[in-house]
């Protein structure tokens, strides 16, 4: 579907939702569910929780749609709701862990990534991909979030800026810093000094 068509459909779905038509949520969910899940996964690091949080965010969209200004883009607003939903969940989970579990006794979260392997590629190429996944996981939260938004959620700079409430210049500098951190990590762990051989 062309982007302009999606944009006009999205506006009409939002208008219907504002009128209280619950069914209008269905196409919005259908259109954004995979993206919402992926974003949530980046925050909560668990597939089941990511599904739950993304669903909860859609329910919150339905309940608070009357506050949404239809003149603005829907997705950055939705992103904020989803992000806050995940942060609240993580805060509750952290409190629960502190109350119930001894520190470090729980199993480590699995990687949020799967790696596309080429059967003919050499060991080094596979190792580089694995290292990159590890490098992304160890980024500072702000760098990781912005990198996921740009690389994996296909968000434009203006969408990222609006979603996070920051200037585009800050988006660029965080992305630059994130890539520098990845480069440093890869060079350190791959034991290669030259950037050309990353």
């Amino acid at each position: 579907m062309p982007e302009s068509q999606i944009g006009s459909d999205e506006k009409s779905w939002v208008e219907e939702l504002k009128k209280g038509n619950k069914e209008a949520l269905a196409p919005l969910v259908e259109f954004y569910k995979k993206r919402a899940y992926s974003i949530a996964l980046g925050f909560v690091h668990n597939q089941e929780d990511a599904l739950e949080m993304s669903q909860l965010a859609f329910i919150k969209v339905y309940r608070s749609i009357r506050h949404f200004d239809s003149q603005r883009a829907f997705f950055p607003w939705f992103y904020q709701i989803l992000r806050n939903t995940c942060f609240n969940f993580l805060q509750k989970k952290k409190n629960l862990k502190e109350e119930v579990l001894e520190e470090g006794s729980g199993p480590a979260d699995p990687s949020i990534f799967t790696i596309t392997q080429n059967p003919e590629e050499d060991f080094q190429a596979a190792e580089r991909k694995k290292l990159l996944a590890q490098a992304i996981e160890q980024l500072k939260p702000k760098e990781k979030e912005i990198l996921l938004m740009q690389h994996f959620h296909q968000m434009s700079y203006s969408e990222i800026a609006e979603s996070l409430g920051i200037p585009i210049g800050t988006v660029m500098s965080r992305l630059y810093q994130a890539r520098c951190s990845l480069r440093t990590y890869l060079e350190k762990h791959y034991r290669i000094g030259s950037a050309h051989e990353l």
Binding site: V29, H67, N84, I115, R179, R183
Partner: protein, 148 residues
């Protein structure tokens, strides 16, 4: 000339977010700056490498059930409101009924009458408390306040 301003240009260039004029300036700078060329190459490799990573996806069944999960919860919320409103009405009616038909009847011993009325009133207050809690939770919902 300092390379700092071009670092952000390199980022924008790689992401296809650079303007024509800025791109021309970057190209001119890259032509005479090996350090920035190396930076561009390293960041490009990282971006290309990240194309081989995919965020872990759930089973297909999860997508099939996805909308139903949302819809059912929206529906249940309405059902819950109706049930509690109905229960509240029943509670009030029961208290009136007990006071009129039971508490004021002299044929039952007074401790029995008082105990029954206290118990029912307590249940009603509990019900009210649940309703108030639910209402307070809705009012303090942070996401309802997000206005764009």
């Amino acid at each position: 000339m300092s390379c700092d301003p071009f670092h952000l240009s390199i980022t924008a260039y790689l992401d296809g977010e650079i303007g024509k004029e800025e791109e021309n300036k970057l190209m001119a700078h890259l032509a005479q700056c090996p350090s920035c060329r190396e930076e561009l190459s390293a960041h490009r490799q990282i971006k290309e490498l990240s194309a081989y990573l995919r965020l872990r996806q759930p089973e297909d069944q999860a997508w099939t059930d996805y909308w139903a999960g949302i819809y059912n919860r929206l529906e249940r919320r309405l059902a819950w409101i109706l049930v509690t409103a109905g229960a509240a009405l029943l509670g009030v009616s029961l208290i009136f009924f007990l006071v009129e038909e039971f508490f004021l009847q002299q044929s039952f011993p007074w401790p029995l009458r008082l105990g029954a009325v206290l118990a029912v009133t307590g249940l009603f207050l509990l019900l009210l408390s649940v309703l108030r809690e639910h209402s307070a939770l809705r009012k303090s919902d942070r996401y309802e306040g997000i206005i764009r």
